[in-house]
């Protein structure tokens, strides 16, 4: 994990470890995304350095779950997704789910796959 000075924190960064006070109480959870308000508070609390995800380390690849990705193009995988949903197209909730699944597939293909 990388340490970033309180003065250099930016909104959108994520904590790579929980932020705790001296008594060990958790102020912000691991993975919390920093907002300008949080950053202000962190400075007010007097922290000098904060552990932030992805700083000074290669971000871990999200692992492949579900549809096989390796050696396949997005078009190939998305065809499979479309077929599964092909009988549920009148349902707005499931259409939204399909969009989210395709988004995840696209992300995974760009990181792991491609033929």
């Amino acid at each position: 994990m990388g340490m970033v000075k309180a003065a250099e924190l930016k909104a959108g960064m994520k904590l790579s470890a929980p932020l705790k006070d001296l008594a060990g109480r958790t102020l912000l959870k691991e993975g919390a995304e920093l907002t300008d308000q949080y950053i202000q508070r962190i400075r007010n609390w007097g922290f000098e350095e904060i552990a932030v995800q992805g700083e000074g380390e290669a971000p871990a690849l999200p692992p492949v779950v579900g549809y096989p990705i390796e050696g396949r193009s997005f078009a190939q995988v998305s065809e499979e997704v479309e077929r599964r949903f092909s009988r549920s197209l009148e349902d707005a909730t499931l259409r939204r789910l399909k969009t989210a699944v395709l988004g995840r597939v696209k992300e995974l293909v760009s990181l792991h796959g491609g033929s």
Binding site: V65, R84, F85, S88, T93, L94, A100, V101
Partner: protein
């Protein structure tokens, strides 16, 4: 469809099966103990001491990342403290059920192309994982019990696979050849994997909180106290298929009932985040897949 007839037909069918899979007696005894407010940790550990193999499995699962205390649980006493009585029962139940069906007989070549028990377990584990997430975030039920309900929801299909392979194969072929959902193809033959599953779970003397979600997962009974978990199982099943995890015999998503969507508040749900969390949880649950494929090294 004539639902009552299907249930009756399934009852007759299951009644005629001589060697129906039975759970280790210890699970039923654990369930009974749990219902008793007088039960102590000592009683539970005493019971578990009678089955060392099961104890080993409980410890292995309890120490997996999935339960949140990786490598920290040294003994059954400790597992009871960390997971609670219910948690220990659910872990024991999950391990036992998966093992029960592991030695399923090999079927005809054509069947192998269309169905495999370990792929169904993959589907079922994914359903359990999603169901547990929903139960927890929606506060619908005890999350570990919801996991078990999801894990068992399609167990009726395994009964069909083992005990009525001819009919089961016919249904699978129908799904493939006529591009139909499993539920429609089985209903045409007065069959119901959900009803079958519920009957089996009832025979195992598991609580209604588990048997009803299994029995009603394709058709909610909105008035029942178990409607919340049932809705969670219904959507978790759809989600597992949509995410492409495992195989449950047919390609298309089953229907999502508006009532289930309402109970779960799906209108407001951020599916992108749900998928991200699910993917992470699914990896942690890979320990269950090891059980299903028999690939446990040791």
């Amino acid at each position: 469809m004539a639902e009552a007839e299907a249930v009756e037909k399934m009852r007759a069918l299951i009644g005629g099966v001589r060697n129906l899979p039975t759970l280790p007696v210890i699970i039923a005894r654990l369930t009974r103990m749990l219902a008793d407010p007088e039960t102590s940790v000592k009683k539970v550990t005493g019971l578990l001491a009678e089955d060392q193999a099961l104890t080993a499995k409980i410890l292995k699962l309890a120490n997996s990342a999935y339960y949140g205390f990786p490598g920290q649980i040294a003994s059954v006493d400790h597992a009871v403290v960390m997971l609670g009585f219910g948690g220990v029962r659910d872990v024991a139940l999950s391990a036992s059920v998966i093992e029960l069906f592991r030695g399923s007989p090999a079927q005809a070549e054509e069947m192998k192309r269309l169905f495999a028990p370990d792929r169904l377990w993959e589907h079922s584990i994914a359903t359990g994982v999603a169901c547990r997430m929903l139960a927890r975030s929606r506060k619908l039920a005890d999350p570990e019990e919801a996991f078990v309900a999801g894990l068992l929801h399609d167990i009726g299909k395994l009964i069909m696979y083992e005990h009525m392979p001819v009919m089961f194969l016919e249904i699978l072929q129908d799904c493939r050849d006529r591009a139909r959902p499993f539920v429609a193809a089985e209903a045409e033959r007065d069959c119901s994997h959900a009803a079958l599953g519920r009957l089996l779970v009832e025979q195992w003397k598991l609580p209604e909180r588990i048997s009803e979600p299994v029995g009603f997962h394709h058709r909610l009974r909105p008035r029942r106290p178990t409607a919340g978990v049932t809705a969670a199982v219904q959507f978790a099943d759809i989600f597992a298929r949509a995410r492409g995890v495992g195989w449950s015999g047919d390609e298309y998503l089953p229907g999502l009932e508006p009532e289930a969507a309402r109970i779960l508040g799906l209108d407001e749900m951020d599916f992108g985040r749900f998928i991200e969390e699910f993917d992470g949880q699914m990896l942690q649950a890979s320990i269950f897949m090891e059980l299903a494929s028999g690939g446990t090294k040791q």
